[in-house]
Symmetry: C2
Subunit: 636 residues, 2 copies
């Protein structure tokens, strides 16, 4: 992987993109019509929204929780993205109403947190490590920026600038120290900086980044001041006095010295997003180099084939290299979503398709598995194997995942294209169009494709006027033998490709047509030999889509299914099934138990019987009769 | 499996047996010279022995624990068995001293429990479910019987009869109800009955058996009377008020209706021992039939290949059929020891070698793994796979396992032979001799063999006078093509074999020689296809010995080792290694990771390289440099 030719890209905003495909367009519609209203109702019914009215009194149920603000904030963000591409007066009004409530909860000095205003006002800022105060502020800032960009209305943005100003008056050099145990505000402050131009927000973000990993740890000093009751439950994450450790919230080392992804996966990803953002704004090479090392660690050693990350339930996060248990995989939906956020940022910084490859892997697999096809049920945890007892739920007490996947789906258009001085980038293949600004000139790219079910992509290039630029088409790392035709002329893909993008530089004029064909055979994927949990197994992948087998299609104990390495695997598109999916079928084997007669162990090898295997996309599992599921299938 | 020809056997007591082999004799010596003194010292140093002096006052450390009595009791039992076959004045005197202390702790009314005399005297008998009061009584009874039989001294026996009389005055029909949450007293009372002839003890054992599984559960009624503090920690095992369940201590059904092994594995096994004992004394067919069903469930569906049982740490016990995880296997040493106890009892009842097969499996594998070869370190938990972080310890806060394995090894001679009216039985092949009473006549059987390392067994039959009887030689279920020669004449093994024993009936006279040859190739053992955790893997077994691979011999990640199904496996006896073991070697393969270059997933299959595999007996693992271990090896 060379690091030459690094270019700074700018994402084409979702308002400049249309999504008209069979894959994402229905998801976006369901997200808008079902998920966003469902999540609003859940927030309302559970008291999360009216908590901003500050009517809570001791003894009342429900009692607000200190992470509630963030759930509402992410819902606002999702709704705003939806509004940006699909105006709806009713949603617009509803947003105004919610924002009105939030604004009403802001204190004289700008402080804004419903929990620490009405439930524990005496305990503001005393437990940054575990009480999510700055995290909630960050999500509200992201929501405010999204709402402003979607509607042009400044109200929420102004509220959040006042809050940011207040936070800036409390924290910083010469003021008080500290940083959030759950990162988020770092990236949010950069968003706020970008939309307002206020340098203080960028500096505050840098301050929070740099507070992390000091010796002695800020969190240790903080915890020493807490009462035992206030600190209860923290020992699990931070250890005991004489073995205090803060990997859980990435506080083990200064951020520029970090190389290994540790601790809570969502915290880690949000931190790295903030690092990438600050690096992007300041050119801080130390932050960028740390991001590169951390990326190598997570994406080359600690990521599920689905793009899920964080295998352990115990810390909702990382363990050791190559430790990727399937049945007990935590792989929180939020973590895969945040992996997309981070890779999208690195992609803009580096223009290297390996970041888009990871982004695509997570987008088509481990993120969207987190929401049902009908948009109303959610996985918090995304295992790669199940005995049939893991199902999506309407909502969670800790409801971070549902609005997180909603804001991702609502903004998917923003991940497809980038623009640069002399270049246009297509990262994702999605039927629809993007209107780019390339070297100051408008270029419309229009994709015709049935991706991800078919690998043929036709792109019509429509510059307003003939323009010289490089059209960069991502050659996914899963593809082999890609072919590329420009206006009927076959191109030599390999020689055009750098950093994973085939770059065609020419004077583009309206009517130019590019055809990229990415052959999509069903591939048997192995994992690195160090991944003990996948030993002897393969996963099926076609294009970017990772497959699984479910008991409803394969009515046998799935661990007994064996895929011979030479078994032909065929694909069949079933438009009725699971919203329309390419189904994979093949002649496999099953271990026969008929002649075991009450034995538990024996020297005689088991017999094998033919068995037709049927695999479906992983993201679509758990939509029919409950039963076993597995991604990694025994091979011989 | 026919159930015809059931005979009632009597074990030949260990005092009538000599053990002179290379396998058990050194174990017995180490047990006597190292383990028993080590365990005494641990019991002494931790305060367990002097707790019987009743000097404890509130605030003093260490505070006795309510299971301490049982640890001392099992140590006395082990020491008594040792004394029975190897008199030692010093140990004899030490036992007298400890027994003196115990006797001194007995109360006026016969009550004897150091914890509930000095720590919580007000709480006697209020929590039979979790506080081990009757369990401790049972272990003290077993110890008293063992001491009496070893030394002829009645002191401890009389103490325990007084205690049993007191318990009998408290519990029973027309008195108070209840039964122990941790079974043990049931089998102990039968031992006490056998040695004293006191029918009340047998009846009390029956009473405790029959109290189990009533509706509403005794334990539920009991718990309702406890304070929340007293009941704390029980909810994990018993569930909540509206979901109270008592599988944990086998109280879900009346014992005669039980078919599935549930809950805590040691509790279950001790219960089933008690059931078998009462069935043996009373001919209770309901209890025997329940034992048969439970045996089918555990031995055909829930037993590790090592004879370990109880896969789950959470309940120290059973889960579902065929759920046998390797790395997280609990497989408590005590549970495997108790599986031997139970199978030994069923073997006497039924004369069916399947019980001896299970007994042998546990004896050569999952029990003795629980103690180091030097006799001073112990496993509580016996996993079948390790990443190198599981090691034997000197002792445990809950120290049930060390004295349990010590009492088993000290009494191993008692498991080898049985006698019956017209039959002599050899269950285990161990160099040495047994002096049997067959039809009232003395018969000495003398075994010459290097079992378990070699399958040739020469038995000289030495009746005091020529005697007609059936000599029953067990044909182990692992053996194929056994050959049998009597005085130079080859016999037809299959036609002689019934219920797993080749029976040679004739007039035996001194000088008669029998040669049994059990070929011992290294076998690749598969587990039932329903065992998901062993899918695609085989275990190596030779004779009764189950093998494992350790990283110290195989310096690679063990999950990457593949054993081709046609790889030749050779055995080599290494008398220097691990006390002398047959080592298995063969040409295997290893998955190569050299060409993976930072990839985590790829479509190209991994390359395989030749790798010489070295396997050692499972029981001997974790004696050299720490590293990975696994029993189940990937096969292709």
């Amino acid at each position: 992987m060379t690091s030459s030719t690094k270019r700074k890209l700018t994402p084409v905003p979702l308002t400049q993109v249309t999504v008209e495909d069979v894959f994402w367009a229905p998801r976006i519609r369901v997200n808008r019509e079902r998920t966003i209203p469902h999540e609003y109702k859940q927030c309302k019914d559970t008291g999360r929204i009216d908590a901003f009215l500050l009517n809570w009194k001791p003894g009342m149920e429900p009692k607000p929780h200190y992470f509630w603000d963030s759930d509402v904030a992410k819902w606002i963000e999702a709704a705003s993205y939806s509004l940006a591409t699909h105006p709806e007066a009713e949603l617009d009004a509803l947003l105004d109403e919610v924002i009105e409530k939030i604004a009403g909860a802001q204190q004289e000095n700008g402080y804004l947190n419903n929990y620490f205003t009405q439930v524990e006002p005496e305990n503001r800022w005393i437990n940054l490590g575990m009480w999510h105060e700055l995290y909630c502020a960050g999500h509200l800032m992201e929501a405010a920026v999204a709402h402003f960009e979607a509607t042009g209305k400044r109200k929420f943005l102004d509220v959040m600038c006042r809050y940011a100003d207040y936070i800036d008056s409390v924290f910083g050099p010469g003021k008080r120290d500290g940083c959030p145990g759950h990162e988020e505000i770092e990236l949010a402050l950069v968003k706020l900086y970008r939309v307002t131009g206020e340098q203080r927000y960028l500096k505050l973000s840098q301050f929070f980044l740099d507070q992390r990993g000091q010796k002695p740890s800020f969190f240790k000093r903080e915890m020493e001041k807490l009462t035992p009751e206030q600190a209860s439950g923290h020992r699990h994450f931070f250890g005991e006095e004489d073995d205090f450790h803060t990997e859980y919230c990435q506080d083990h080392l200064p951020v520029r010295e970090q190389s290994e992804v540790v601790g809570h996966a969502v915290r880690a990803m949000y931190l790295y997003c903030g690092m990438a953002d600050v690096a992007n704004e300041t050119g801080d090479q130390g932050l960028l180099a740390a991001c590169e090392r951390l990326w190598d660690n997570v994406c080359r050693k600690r990521m599920y084939i689905t793009g899920g990350i964080g295998p352990s339930r115990s810390n909702e996060g990382f363990t050791q290299d190559y430790d990727l248990p399937n049945e007990s995989a935590y792989a929180e939906t939020c973590a895969a979503v945040a992996l997309v956020f981070w890779n999208h940022r690195l992609l803009q910084l580096q223009g290297d398709s390996r970041f888009a490859d990871v982004m695509e892997r997570a987008l088509y697999n481990g993120t969207i598995s987190g929401v049902s096809l009908d948009g109303k049920k959610f996985f918090y945890v995304n295992p790669l194997e199940s005995r049939g007892d893991h199902h999506r739920q309407d909502w969670f007490g800790c409801a971070c995942c549902p609005p997180n996947i909603a804001r991702l789906i609502a903004s998917i258009g923003g991940y497809i294209y980038s623009q640069a001085e002399g270049d246009a980038y297509v990262h994702l293949y999605v039927r629809g169009s993007g209107t780019l600004q390339v070297g100051g000139k408008q270029v419309v790219l229009r994709q015709e494709t049935d991706y991800p079910w078919d690998g043929t992509i036709r792109i019509s290039v429509e510059p307003k006027e003939p323009t010289v630029f490089g059209l960069n088409l991502r050659i996914p790392n899963w593809s082999r033998n890609a072919t590329l035709i420009v206006n009927g002329e076959k191109m030599e893909v390999d020689s055009l490709t750098n950093l994973g993008y085939a770059r065609i530089e020419r004077e583009w004029k309206s009517g130019d047509e590019v055809e990229l064909v990415l052959p999509m055979p069903v591939e048997r994927i192995e994992s690195h030999p160090a991944v003990r949990q996948n030993s002897g197994c393969v996963a099926l992948q076609r294009g970017p889509v990772v497959y699984c087998i479910e008991q409803v299609d394969n009515p046998v104990p799935l661990h007994r299914v064996i895929l011979p390495h030479d078994a032909e695997l065929k694909t069949q598109f079933d438009k009725e099934l699971l919203g329309g999916v390419a189904v994979v079928k093949g002649n496999a084997l099953i271990v026969d138990d008929a002649d075991w007669d009450g034995m538990l162990y024996r020297a005689e090898p088991s017999k094998l019987k033919p068995f037709e295997i049927t695999a479906i996309p992983y993201y679509a599992w758990d939509h029919r009769e409950p039963g076993e599921m597995r991604v990694w299938i025994r091979e011989m």
